[in-house]
Every structure is written in C-alpha cells, then in structure tokens.
C-alpha cells in the first residue's frame, strides 16, 4: 500500500453545478504519495470548489473521488479519516486554547485519547506552536492562526493533505516557514495546495495543475514544464544563415536578437548535441545559455486562451 507511486487522490470527471451555473467541467486530479501538487488559477476559477469536493465538504454534481483507493462518496467516513483539510479561512474556535483546540481536532479525527498527547506534541513541534499551547486562539496573530489551521489538518497524520491558499495573509518570513513545512510534509503525505501566487508553486510544488473558468488547462510536472518551455540563448562568432539553424534537430523556432545572438526554442533540443554541431561546423560558439521562461508567462498564456502549449 505504501508504494511511492500510490495514487492518494484520484478524482475523475468532477463537475459541479450551482443552480443554472456550471462552475466545474470535467476536472481530473491525481496526487501521488510523496508529491506536492499546486492547484493554480486566477480567483474564481473553481480552485476552492474543487478542494471542497475533494475534502468531502461538498458533493460533486458528477464524477468520482477516490482517496487512497476508497470512494469518498460511498464511504465518506473511511475516506475522510485519510484527509486533512485547511479551508481558505482556518476553522478555529477563538474561545479555546491552542491545546484544547488541537486535542478536539485529534479526537474528531479519531485519534485515540492515549495517542492524542503525542500527536499534539508532534504537530506543535512541526508547526512551531510549542510556545502558544496555553494561549487563547482569539489572541493569536494571523500567522499563528494559519499555522494552527495547518496543524489541525495534519494532527491525525492523514495520507492526503489539502491546503486552500495556505500562505495567504502571512508575512515573508512566515511564508518561508510554511513553505518549508509543506516541503517536509511531502515525505509521508500527498499534498494538494491551491494558490494564485506563482512563485509559491515554483518554490514548493512538483507538479502544477492549471485551472481556469472551471476547466483544467494544463497538468504537468514543473520539470517537464521548464523543459518544454525552455529556450536557449546562443551566441556565435560566425553564424550560419538563420535557415540553417532552423533546420537543426530539435529546433522549433529561432529568433535573431542581433547579428551574432539568437534565441532558440525547442522542447526536444539536446544542448550537448547542439553544441557539438556548432563546434563541428566551426560557427564559433561562445555562449549557450538556458533561458527558463517564468511560470507567470505560461500562466498568462494559458489563461488568456492561448492553448498552443507545447507541454500539454
């Protein structure tokens, strides 16, 4: 059961209709153990609705959700035991202390009373809440409340952790800590997090699912994405005609920056092979630099409807 490739979230064909309005169309989401998947999209794209469905708070109008192999709709209780969910707003009781609240969450998620103490200590340590155990939640800062929200999502060591915009409203230091925490969670959980902050995806995710207007636009690993969108800056002392460059293996497009400098695009371009050709033809290769296109560029292209994604 604990193979690294094990599918922890397998959702297929999810749709959701509110009255006359269809907000999700045929959404597929897969999260494996040991993976952090970023759910990226502009505000109102359907990110939160999808996460609410995956955590069992909302029923889909169509489609199926399996959590670690258990059907969420048919066996909600068994499936929900394996999920930790942080909604957009941390679901905390302001009148309780941190310890009381976490103990309640642990009990609610069926952690045995005898194990609750150890679970609390572990999760407080992990989320940096050791010093605020006796404090009333209402008196905690936004950053601590957010951490507490994450703590309640992992106190029962669920296999699946679903976080809806976990770093929203935090200061840069807190954001760094939370991202570090999410990266640590990857080791024994599958994590799905939603965000509209692009650098966040680049910082913590292995894979990105891009959603816009309730449809999935792109689902690719960050590595594949950067390979697919990578371009090479090439400087040649004695460049051949641009047509010759275009005809090389793996080259899709060549833009001329100046007489000696070119921007070459091609997802299947092998840099070693390319360099050998340049040297072999004695073009005077002086520079070959990968130019990673930012995720932002990809995001804007995909959301603006330009679907000619080489990566997809």
């Amino acid at each position: 059961m604990t193979s690294p490739d094990e599918l922890l979230i397998a959702a297929t064909g999810l749709s959701r209709v509110y009255g006359e309005r269809r907000v999700l169309h045929d959404i597929d989401v897969a999260v494996r153990r040991g993976e952090v998947v970023g759910f990226l999209g502009p505000n109102g794209a359907g990110k939160s609705t999808t996460l609410r469905i995956l955590s069992g708070v909302l029923a889909p109008s169509g489609g199926t959700v399996r959590i670690a192999g258990i059907d969420l709709l048919e066996h909600p209780i068994a499936a929900k035991r394996r999920i930790g969910y942080l909604p957009e707003q941390p679901p905390v009781y302001r009148e309780l202390t941190t310890d009381e609240y976490l103990r309640y969450c642990a009990r609610l998620h069926r952690v045995a009373t005898s194990e609750a103490g150890a679970a609390l200590a572990r999760v407080k340590d992990r989320c940096g809440l050791q010093d605020v155990g006796a404090r009333l939640i209402g008196s905690l800062s936004k950053g601590y409340q957010q951490r507490l929200g994450i703590a309640q999502a992992i106190v029962h060591s669920p296999e699946v952790v679903i976080l809806d915009e976990p770093t929203v409203g935090l200061d840069p230091i807190q954001i760094r800590e939370i991202r570090q925490l999410i990266r640590e969670l990857r080791t024994d959980h599958g994590v799905l997090l939603s965000t509209h902050i692009l650098p966040e995806v680049q910082a913590v995710c292995d894979r990105v699912v891009l959603i816009n207007a309730g449809r999935i636009m792109l689902d690719a690993t960050l590595a594949a994405l950067s390979d697919a969108t990578r371009r090479w800056r090439v400087r040649l002392r004695r460049p051949p005609p641009i047509e010759t460059l275009k005809s090389l293996d793996g080259v899709q497009r060549v833009d001329m920056l100046d007489a000696q400098c070119f921007l070459i695009a091609g997802p299947r371009l092998d840099s070693e092979d390319f360099a050998r050709r340049c040297v072999g033809a004695d073009w005077g290769l002086v520079e070959l630099t990968p130019q990673d296109r930012s995720l932002e560029e990809v995001f804007l292209r995909v959301t603006s409807g330009d679907l000619a994604m080489e990566a997809a």
Partner: protein, 252 residues
C-alpha cells in the same frame, strides 16, 4: 464522536459569559418565585389542614415553580440554541466538522446533547429548591421527579427546535428570533376558540399545543401520549436538522 462534539459544545458554552449569566439570572428569578410560593403555602396551610384530601406542599410549591420555569426557559432557550450551527457556519468552523470523519447525524446529536446537558443542569438546580423542603417537611418525591422529567422533556424539545432552526437559518440572531417565535406559538396555539370544538383544526391545535402536554405531567397525571409528544417533536426536529446539514453538501 457524538460525545466529543457534545463536550466541545458544552465547554464553549461555559467559556462565554452568557451561559453563566443565564444560570445566575434564571436561578435568581426562580428562587424568588419559589420563596413567594413557600410564603403562600405557609399562609394557607392552617386552612388546608382541615380538608380531607388537601393538596400537599409539592403540589402547591413545586408544580407552579416548574410551570414558571418552563415559561422562563422558553425565553432563554433561543439565546443559547441559536448559535449551535449558525454561528459555526458563519465563523467558518462548520467546515471542520464537515470535513472530519463524522456524519451529519453525529454533528446534530452532538450539538443537541451538549446543549441539553446545560439545560438539564439548570433543571436540576431548579429541582434543588423544592427538594430543600425536605429539611422541614416531607415532599412527594415521585411528584417532584415527574416535574423534573417533564421539564427535561420540554427542554429537549426546545433544544431540538433550536438546533433545527439554527441549522436552517444563516443569521444567528434571526435564528434566535425564529426559535423564540416557534416556541411561543407552540405554547399559545391553544388560545384559539377553535380548540374547544371537535373540528379537525381544533383537534390538531390541541395536539400541537405544548402546554396541553406538559401541564398534566406537572400536575402528576402521567400519560404516555404526552411523553410521546415531546419525544416525537424532538426526533422530528433532529431528523430535519440532519437532513438540512446533508443538503449543505449537495447545494452549499
């Protein structure tokens, strides 16, 4: 799981000043009413002594006290029940329960039992007043027990109605007002002249009226149909509340 939710509900009640204020005010008012009733009893006691089957101290002191308590708690119950689900929904904590491995039935039962535990405590404090008469006289314990049981049955219906309305109405204050209106209507529904008739409306009104079911019980006339009324009212309201929470997942 139900017990975990109920314990949290009860604990949160006592963490806010409202529950303490309610306990203090209600007990104070009822203690005053109790003392007045004792005063009445001591005044009419010499005259009662001559009668063959004269009413005892329990009938004269305890029954009216519990009837007064029922009236006051009708005003007070909505103040505590309105937050049950509506405030959790508004505060964003309902999601915690909905995403946890608990069923809607467990959520509703937890809320109901937590609140009922508070009111049962209040009912016992009320019962302690006539029970203290044992220091000087011999109360009718069976009658007193019947009064406590009746009050708890009545409070169970109050709480169930309150939890249902709190789960159906978004705004907690609106939920309080609607709960109050519903409870009051169930109390005064038999004021209509129709109840004296044998028409269908008359029979229905007589059956719906809460007072017509708890007044005989308080007077010591035990009828299982009256007890059943409160049990059914409680169960129907709780079932509707479960249904309402399930609908959240479908339509929310």
């Amino acid at each position: 799981m139900t017990a975990v939710i109920a314990a949290r509900e009860l604990r949160s009640l006592f963490l806010a000043p409202l529950a303490w204020v309610i306990l203090a005010v209600v007990v104070f008012i009822l203690a005053y009413a109790f003392l007045v009733q004792v005063q009445v009893f001591t005044e009419i006691q010499p005259r009662l002594a001559g009668l063959p089957s004269a009413p005892g101290v329990t009938e004269i002191v305890a029954a009216p006290l519990f009837e007064f308590a029922a009236m006051i708690l009708l005003l007070v119950a909505p103040l505590l029940t309105h937050r049950a689900v509506a405030a959790e929904r508004r505060g964003g904590t309902l999601v915690l329960l909905q995403s946890a491995p608990v069923s809607s039935t467990q959520i509703v039962l937890g809320k109901y039992l937590g609140l009922l535990a508070f009111f049962a405590l209040l009912a016992l404090l009320v019962a302690a007043m006539p029970a203290s008469l044992a220091l000087g006289t011999a109360p009718d314990w069976r009658h007193l027990g019947a009064c406590v049981l009746t009050l708890i049955l009545l409070l169970s219906a109050f709480v169930a109605i309150g939890v249902l309305i709190s789960s159906a109405v978004e705004d907690p204050i609106a939920a309080a007002m609607i709960t109050f209106g519903t409870l009051l209507l169930l109390k005064i529904i038999d004021w209509s002249t129709e109840v004296a008739t044998e028409t269908r409306t008359g029979v229905l009104m007589r059956y719906l009226s809460m007072s017509r079911h708890y007044e005989p019980l308080l007077a010591g006339r035990f009828a299982s149909s009256d007890i059943l009324y409160f049990v059914i009212l409680t169960l129907v309201c709780l079932a509707l509340a479960v249904w309402r929470l399930d609908a959240d997942r479908l339509h929310g």
